[in-house]
């Protein structure tokens, strides 16, 4: 029998709940930057990726729906976070 440190894993967003692991698809979404809360709260759904922040860009064939989530194949979604350069430029302006 195997006992893993569920409380640590849940606290760090590495498991869905105590005794409930992420599915492979959810784990991929977590690795792509979707927050654990969004998946737990049902904001992110299977095959749907929510945009983590305003500057994120999504490439792929997804369509943006009314609630701000993007219907897309998770494998085809690339999320780009703003670089330090861009942030400096913005502050100069």
């Amino acid at each position: 029998m195997e006992n893993i440190n569920w409380s640590n894993l849940v606290a760090k967003g590495r498991a869905k709940a105590h005794g409930v692991p992420w599915t492979e698809e959810e784990a991929k979404a977590r690795a792509a930057g979707v927050s654990a809360e969004d998946i737990r709260d049902g904001v992110w759904k299977s095959g749907v990726v929510s945009v983590p922040n305003e500057s994120a860009e999504i490439s792929g064939t997804g369509e943006i729906s009314g609630d701000g989530s993007v219907n897309a194949n998770i494998d085809k979604v690339v999320i780009k976070k703003p670089t330090i350069k861009k942030a400096v430029k913005k502050s100069k302006k």
């Binding site: 029998m1 195997e2 440190n5 640590n8 692991p21 992420w22 784990a27």
Partner: protein
């Protein structure tokens, strides 16, 4: 007729049959060639994954060596479970000297014990592509996840230090082929640890079910490129040093056909990923008291636990192509 006075010699005979059968079965097992099988006296065994020290620096003249801390990974506790069965030498067997039946009983229960252990190890691989619990060979629901709460094989294994992830699924779950093995080896050799440093995993062992035995042998052992008119040398020959054909990978407990699944591991390190801890190896014990008119109940029992550690040293494909 076997009487009470014959009990010691009968016990000796049955122990001999046990030893002979166990010796053969252990030699036939494949799980112990992959898993790190060892003995422990602990009921619960705490395993902590350490990602090693990182931070070697150039030290200037007169400068002290930098002090660095080890990177603590996930922890997991493995608890021993108890297994066993009674082998009854009945009054009828003793009264009519049915030695064949006694021998057959002991042989079959020993065979069952070692087969069950080996199948339980094979099921760790066969059920390694899903995080859902599965029913093991003993009919008990068991967890399929490792210390990071993900399936043994995942494209996004996490760690306790940062948000870096790694995959130990052979890219796109290909069917077994020479190209797929080359891809897997590259994947292993460029594996990065949580600190983002390349820590090569040398996938030098190929593990397949009997359905893939012939193909695997041709891929690994041909002098030239197998299955083509290409006269190039087979560069894989000698790199993948060991082929393990594991009969129990053909079908996992529950009947699912897993014959196309295939795996690769780093023989020097896979013992960290897959472990099997015995608190007591299988043994046949005689009853403390025997009665003339009752069954003589011999027992065969053992304690063991299966452990999944840091999963980077074993890679797998379920041949689904996705």
């Amino acid at each position: 007729m076997i009487t009470k006075s014959d009990f010691p010699s009968l016990t000796d005979d049955l122990q001999s049959i046990f030893n002979e059968t166990a010796k053969t079965k252990v030699a036939e097992m494949k799980g112990n060639q992959i898993f790190n099988v060892f003995d422990t006296i602990r009921l619960t065994y705490d395993h902590l994954i350490l990602h090693g020290l990182s931070g070697i620096q150039r030290v200037a003249d007169g400068q002290d060596l930098p002090k660095i801390n080890s990177e603590e990974g996930d922890s997991v506790t493995w608890t021993q479970d108890y297994y066993g069965a009674i082998v009854s030498i009945t009054k009828k067997m003793r009264k009519f000297d049915l030695y064949d039946q006694m021998t057959s009983l002991v042989k079959s229960i020993v065979t069952d014990a070692f087969d069950s252990i080996d199948q339980s190890l094979a099921d760790v691989l066969g059920n390694g592509f899903s995080a859902s619990n599965y029913t093991d060979v003993y009919g008990v629901s068991v967890a399929a996840v490792g210390p990071d709460a993900l399936a043994l094989f995942s494209t996004a294994h996490t760690n306790n230090i940062n948000s870096n992830t790694f995959s130990n699924i052979i890219t796109s779950n290909p069917v077994l082929s020479r190209t797929a093995i080359v891809t897997a080896r590259k994947q292993g050799l460029t594996h990065k640890d949580p600190n983002n440093k390349i820590r090569p995993v040398n996938l030098d062992t190929l593990i397949v079910a009997p359905s893939n035995e012939d193909l695997a042998e041709r891929i690994l052992y041909s002098e030239l490129m197998s299955g083509t008119g290409n006269n190039d040398v087979n560069a894989l020959k000698g790199k993948v040093k060991k082929l393990i054909v594991w009969e129990r990978l053909e079908t996992r407990t529950g009947g699912t056909d897993t014959s196309a699944y295939w795996y690769m591991c780093d023989s020097a390190k896979v013992g960290e990923s897959l472990q099997c801890l015995f608190a007591e190896r299988p043994s046949l014990d005689a009853p403390d008291e025997v009665y003339t008119n009752k069954n003589w109940d011999y027992s065969l029992d053992f304690y063991y636990a299966i452990g999944r550690g840091y999963p980077a040293y074993v890679f797998g494909s379920n041949a689904s192509g996705s």
